[in-house]
Amino acid sequence: MVSGPVLDVRRLVFRWGPALAPCLDIEAMRVEAGEQVFLHGPSGSGKSTLLGLLGGVLRPSGGEVLALGQALSALSGAQRDRFRVDHVGFVFQQFNLVPYLDVLDNVLLPCRFSAQRTARALASSDGDLHDEARRLLEALDLPRALLHRPATQLSVGQQQRVAAARALIGRPPLVIADEPTSALDAPTQARFLELLQRECAAVQATLVFVSHDRRLAGRFTREIALASLNRAAALAEVLQ
């Protein structure tokens, strides 16, 4: 479905105010379809800002972000919301799940807001959304007994796997994971990463995995170091 790069960042500049120095300044960054990229960003490297720009929550001060060939700055706020839910799945560090919904309903949340995700989920499961959610959760190694538990009764590792299933449902072309393993202990980390990568490959989703922990980099096809990519952060370091 996607021929060009999934993410294409061109001369991206972002500053919090017109008079302030830019906190993000990236000449170029590309992520090709099907890639699993490790984006390494220590705190202060502009990681959150970059994610905000990639997700279309923040608007660039200069340059542009093309996601799946679409220039995000050309879209209105509502269109960006729609684009995001249709094409991007997110996994966060923690606080991923809506506490009062059960596991299955949490996984199905994106389908409630996106007709495209619903359609794709139905297509890959012979017309039953719940089947698709169950299949994903099973693939991510979540015990069946937990499907109807409230999200709050799960361990952190289990919660992250539910979050991954939610990001993957409806086969979004791009999955952005923001420090998803930081709250997990080492064995759980490795297991989670393995499952996430396998499922992304299975649904042919491009994975951008953001973390400050370089030990995980070895598992990815490519590593991008944000600190060296972001000229504004490098400049700040020099100035210090």
Binding site: G52, G77, Q93, Y100, L101, R112, R117, D178
Partner: protein, 424 residues
Amino acid sequence: MTPLLRLALASAWNRRATLGLTVAAIALSVAMLLGVERCRLAAREAFAQSVSGTDLVVGARTSPVQLMLYAVFRLGEATNNIRWSSVEALRANPAVAWTIPLSLGDSHRGFAVLGTDGSYFEHFRYGRHQALALAEGRAFGGTVDGVFEATIGAEVARTLHYGLGQRIVLSHGSGGEGLAEHADKPFTVVGILAPTGTPVDRTVHVSLQAIEAIHLDWQGGAPIPGLAIAPDLVRKFDLQPKTVTAALVGLKSRGAVFRVQRDVNEAAGEPLLAVLPGVALDQLWQVVGVVERTLLAVSALVAAVGLAGLVAVVLASLNERRRELAILRSVGAGPRHIAALLVLESSVATLAGISLGLLLLAAGAVVAGPWLQAQLGSAPSAWISGAGEGRLIGALLAAGLLAGALPAWRACRLSLADGLTPRL
């Protein structure tokens, strides 16, 4: 919108304790606001119907409000009496159907004593044209033998714990302590009237002849020294009253009311005043209007506090829900979804609060209805009545919607910033 509704329900259920309290607070303020409003209307209605079916009140020339005050409400003193011949002239008027003579001035332990005749029980109406009813006993006797009989109002009986057969002594004049007493001519309670919620409840009724009889040996407001007429002897005297305080007049046709009023006001015999009770009652109500408006203002404040509580709860829960809303944003909920979620919740909470308040009021009206009927003279309506109340409820609903709009606006701003980085 259906998935949103499910989310809103699940989310509200998750915070049911706080929301329940808010709904209860709204319900109580609604019940208070509408309760006060309904009692006010009931009191006003009862007041306006202290006397009904009477077309004219006739008394000595004074101000209409004062005439109403003493003739109907037994408050204050008449400046002058009217001659019995004037009452007879009224009775002779072909347009007049009936008259009720009223003779006031004496009291019993603070309650007014009213001298009248059988026409009082026959023609007097209050409320929605209700006739007086006896709870116990009978009306005082109109005969010479039944001179010292009294029929008392419900409140007199209740306050003083009087039953049938109770012997009572009337005092000369009305008001406070230390009045001269008609101790030589005690009365017997022969009847107790059912409660009406009107001044009738606070009245001791005796015959016109009785009023004459107890004043036979009096002059100028004091017993004539050396003259004492025993009760048994009063029948030897002419007990036909020479004067009365006022008269209630019923006409054969209401259409004649202004003509008869003019006839009375222009009567050649003595200076008289005829008043249309409805008009004078409206004037009187203006006097208590301030109290009425104050009550309404207080209950409006209570309602405002209830709604402010709703805003406060929704705003406070925003912090608690920041994570939840950020997650929803990240899985594709737009700002309008978030706003709808919050407005939906506060309007449903307001709606639930109002419904609960109305139910509370209806239950209250069923339970306390009879008591209120006795106190106010008219039971407050149990369900929504009138356009005024509809407007009040509409205003409350609108305020509830607004109460959701402010947090919704704030949540949109918050959740947009939180959208992809929900770190708390």
